[in-house]
């Protein structure tokens, strides 16, 4: 196991140390009770049986009684161990689930785009499932198996140290085999997790894009690609099982040979009078039992391996540092005015080329600024920087004079809200989806926000009104309706700075007009940065920036720019023409 995984494991076990220790003690005691069995039988045959011949019954009563107590105690302890270890493992799992989830949320968008959603999802589902499998049964079994082996050797040594020595000799090939298995199966299980993740990615992609798959008759091709990955996954799993089979068989052979040797050596010693028959039988029973934990370890070594590989990947995800870190000494902005300033800002995605070579810009509080330009001109980049989805490469962005990187994250999210073109709805009610803008908002506030963007009538007409569940991805609402809902979210959030990145692109004209009217009142006193391809949205703003190649090429009020006869004026003319089209 790598150091990163170990550190993660340590930090997970830390908080449940006591419970884990308790579970371990229970396991130890229950194994101890189980290991006592053959010794008691041996004692019964060698001592209670002859005593019985002499007319003494108490050794038998004592042995049988002790055995009965041991049996019941062993059962109780084993059952308590199951419960205790489930409590511990489920607590650990809950902690791990939360951590991965929280960390995923903390990571920046650049990471999300690079790592891809399918892989993030498989980290949190199939990889955590592998860890769960280990914690669920594997860990207890692994621990109790090792203990059982130890106690078996100790128990036998108490009866007859020479036979115990034979068992210890048998451990040597066992360890060699285990080592071989370890090396082989480690690589195998890494491969298995990788191919599982690939399988998950292609599954998720096909299900997410099912409309396109069907509309373009991609079923056969998609199925073929999936077949390939399913076969790859199968081959990897089959190889893993094969390696495991060799291990299992090898162990059985070693243990069975040990039984024969113990019997041979012990039997000859019985003939010489060096050993009692009962002890020999006890030794054989112990030797026979010695094999059981080893094969169990083999069985759970599988889940141990896959969990180790999965844990390593999860640890890798957790080790990713967000490139948009929370400030060390956050500056509070309880009531932001919405004054924005770009100072010598330059930016490029990742290590890529500069998208914004140099930007100086001041947006006074309350100004409505529109960004216009071709796709890829860098408008969305400006918006994303403002919302601190990314951090600038050079220079700084100030909100009310405070560097965005120093603003308390909660205050920043309250002050600056961005509505994007992609209006994602979560499963749940419409009302809950709007309330994402302000958790704890009353129904009246939610409705007010919906009214402001003109979606109230539409929602009221849904089967359960505001309580209507939107299906996954909000399929039952049209793109325009989803945009309105996500708009209502932003209205409810009531930010000082509102960024609209193509937020009305899917609206119909009346819908947009409605939103415009809503915005006119809504934006009063607020800073707004609006990116729109449609000039209808732009014409009512205070100021327009025309962006090209990451630089501002025109700056002024819409009327000024139209009068100036530059790029914006040309756009404006196109737009006028399209209104009277046909």
């Amino acid at each position: 196991m790598r150091r990163r995984s170990l550190a993660l494991l340590r930090s997970l076990v830390g908080p449940v140390r006591t419970g884990a220790a308790g579970a371990v003690v229970l396991v130890v005691l229950s194994e101890l009770a189980t290991a006592a069995g053959p010794a008691l039988v041996a004692y019964g045959i060698d001592h209670a049986l002859p005593a019985m011949g002499d007319g003494r019954t108490w050794p038998l009563v004592a042995t049988a009684g002790a055995y009965l107590v041991t049996a019941l105690l062993g059962g109780l302890l084993a059952s308590a161990a199951v419960r205790a270890s489930a409590v511990v493992s489920q607590t650990i799992l809950l902690d791990l689930r939360r951590r991965v989830f929280r960390h995923t949320q903390r990571l920046d968008l650049e990471f999300h785009e690079r790592y891809t959603s399918g892989r993030i999802i498989s980290r949190q589902t199939s990889d955590l499932d592998a860890v769960r499998e280990l914690l669920d049964g594997g860990l207890t079994t692994l621990g109790s198996s090792l203990l059982a082996m130890m106690f078996t050797v100790v128990g036998l040594a108490l009866l007859d140290w020479r036979s115990a020595l034979l068992l210890l000799v048998a451990v040597v090939p066992g360890i060699v085999l285990t080592r071989w298995f370890q090396v082989r199966s480690q690589a195998q299980y890494r491969a298995s997790r990788t191919s599982a993740a690939r399988l998950v990615v292609s599954f998720v992609e096909a299900m997410t894009g099912i409309r396109a798959v069907q509309a373009f008759r991609r079923e056969p091709a998609t199925a073929r690609a999936y077949d390939e990955r399913a076969e790859e996954y199968r081959a990897v799993s089959a190889e893993a099982i094969r390696v495991n089979g060799v291990f299992d068989t090898g162990l059985t052979a070693i243990a069975n040979v040990t039984v024969a040797v113990v019997l041979l050596v012990g039997g000859l010693r019985v003939l010489d009078g060096g050993l009692e028959v009962g002890v020999l039988i006890g030794a054989v029973l112990y030797a026979r039992r010695f094999l059981n934990p080893l094969s169990q370890i083999g069985m759970f070594y599988n889940s141990f391996q896959s969990a180790t590989a999965a844990l390593e990947k999860v640890a890798g995800l957790l080790a990713e540092e967000p490139t948009v870190p929370d400030p060390a000494r956050p500056v509070h902005l309880p009531a932001s005015r919405g004054d924005l300033r770009f100072e010598d800002v330059s930016f490029g995605y990742g290590g890529g080329p500069l998208v914004l070579p140099h930007l100086d810009l001041h947006v006074p509080a309350g100004q409505q600024l529109a960004l216009v330009g071709r796709t890829g001109a860098g408008k969305s980049t400006v918006a994303k920087l403002l919302a601190r989805f990314y951090d600038v490469r050079d220079g700084r962005i100030l909100l009310d004079g405070v560097d965005l990187r120093d603003v308390d994250p909660t205050d920043l999210r309250r002050a600056v809200v961005m509505v994007t073109q992609e209006a994602y709805l979560f499963s749940g009610s419409v009302s809950a989806n709007i309330a994402i803008g302000r958790p704890g908002a009353t129904r009246a506030q939610v409705e007010e926000a919906a009214r402001a963007v003109g979606v109230h009538d539409l929602i009221s007409a849904l089967p359960d009104g505001y309580d209507t569940e939107v299906d996954k991805r909000g399929v039952r609402l049209s793109a325009g309706q989803r945009q309105l809902v996500s708009f209502a979210r932003a209205v409810l959030a009531d930010p000082a700075v509102l960024i609209l990145d193509e937020a009305t692109s899917s609206l119909d004209v009346p819908g947009e007009a409605q939103v415009q009217r809503g915005l006119a009142t809504l934006l009063a006193g607020r800073t707004a940065v609006v990116i729109a391809h449609r000039l209808s949205t732009v014409m009512s703003s205070d100021r327009v920036l025309v962006v090209e190649g990451g630089r501002v090429v025109e700056d002024g009020s819409p009327d000024q720019l139209v009068a100036a006869g530059g790029r914006f004026a040309a756009l404006h003319a196109d737009w006028q023409a399209s209104l009277g089209a046909d």
Partner: protein, 611 residues
Amino acid sequence: MTDVPPPAPAPRAGSGRAPSTTVALLRLREWARPAQRRIVVGGLTALGASLLSLMLPQVLRWLVNGPLLTDGSRWAVVAGAGVVLALGLLEAFLIWCRRALIATPGTAVEREMRVSMFRHLLDLPVEFHDRWSGGQLLSRAMGDLGAIRRWLVFGLVMMLVSAATVVAGIALMLATSWELGLVYLAGAVPMVWLSFRFREDYKVVARRARDQAGDLATAVEESVHGIRVLKAFGRGDDALEDFARQAESLRVTEVHKARTLSRVTFALNAIPEAILAVALAVGVPLAAHGHLSVGALIAFFATATIVNRPVERLGQFLAMTLDARAATDRYAQVLDTIVAVRDPEQPVPLPAPGPAGTRVELSGVAFAHPGGERVLDGLDLVLEPGTTTAIVGLTGSGKSTLLQLVPRLYDVSTGSVRIDGVDVRETTRAELRSAVAVAFEDPILFSSTVRDNVLMGVSRSDGTPEDELLATALDVASADFVADLPHGVDTVIGEEGLSLSGGQRQRIALARAVAARPRVLLLDDPLSALDVSTEAAVTERLRRVLVGTTTLVVAHRPSTVALADRVAVLEGGRITGVGTHTDLLGTHPHYRYVLTALETADEREDAGVGA
């Protein structure tokens, strides 16, 4: 020891009662058939291995009663140990055989089941996917199928073999000493009863745990897909809280499951050992009074020790079986969903298009989502061959739905959609969809190269070189940005590749629809994410290539309407007007309202009611 199922044929779900676990699992034979023989043979070798291990006590008995306690022959001891060695090696060999026989076919069964489910999912209509969350489907495809495979390869065989070993072991014990055999048997009865109780309790919890795990997977998926929204509003913590709540209920269920398991653990651990304690109390006096040889007594204990292991593990295999049952049910739930949008038994081929192109006719079309209101209600619309029709209506008026009725992504509730006179339900979906191409409003890209993404709708029989189709389509969509991608048209985009902006994705999706050169082209607001100048360029080029292709385009804006020869107004689920843009602007108040937001008095009233 366990209730071994009778080999009855599996009745298909008939009565309303939930089928028994046996029946539910027998369904697996549908997929396990190719592996059946090897599973049976593998089971037999496993049985052989298990029975061989029961021979050991008999050898011990002979050794103790013979050489060790009476004649003292060294040769006999060596021979006895030799027999034990041979038996042991044979056992190992048989174990190897079981693995070799079952493992590979087992994984093949898993793959077959996975692949059939995937194919079925691809076949199921969009309406099904609207209702099912991705997480629920994914957890079936991965976790549930994994559980089924483990059970098929290991659980099933080992459960039956364990049961057989227990039966054989008890028979041997009874033969050794009927008193001791009865003691063992007396312990077995409560174990069977407890196993049965456990089965009932565990079934409920196992199912709940699996369902909750599925829900949790959905929550994870949403949190990742909706990450931008969560970031924009700083709602990561709230999402975490929701998630933590769900994860906590799963934890409670899992602990509850463990509690159920712990009860059976107690029984299966304590009872076998308690039996040995009682047997010691009964057997030693028997041996002391000469009713039983010491060798027989030893053989009994050795047998009981060997049989105890399968008895203990029965609980584990039982739990595996119940888990596999829950998994099988969940799997079957998807597979048994009937494909509502299917190919007809005797498909009619689409006739060749007329000289001017293909005619599409929607008559009396009504459509409602299951359990929802009617979106379309008695709609009539004819797309004349080779013309481009724009469909205009308010958001939510059913324009996108209407579009998706043509390639049968949804089926009409009543009425019909005809392509050159043939009802779309009378031909195969494959033929229909090769004649119809759609550019969706939400552009969907796949993890593949730009080339594959654009050419995915192209019929292979077409003679035109692919490169030419690709270049033309990209040109029409003004997707010149492709040239600047790291590997040009061979750049991998989508989930596993480069991510593109909304406008770029939309243009790829548009190029895809154009490259298919369909008889009917359906464009769902195809230019919404484009900037004005790009939009103008695309419109201009589209108009040129659309000549001769019957096209239906959903339009929200005058600029998109400019693509069309004529416009149809969708209002209240029907077409209330057809004409040119200019005509309709003058005569149709609703049209004027939709495109310009200028309201007339009565239109305001309408909008108030209908919007």
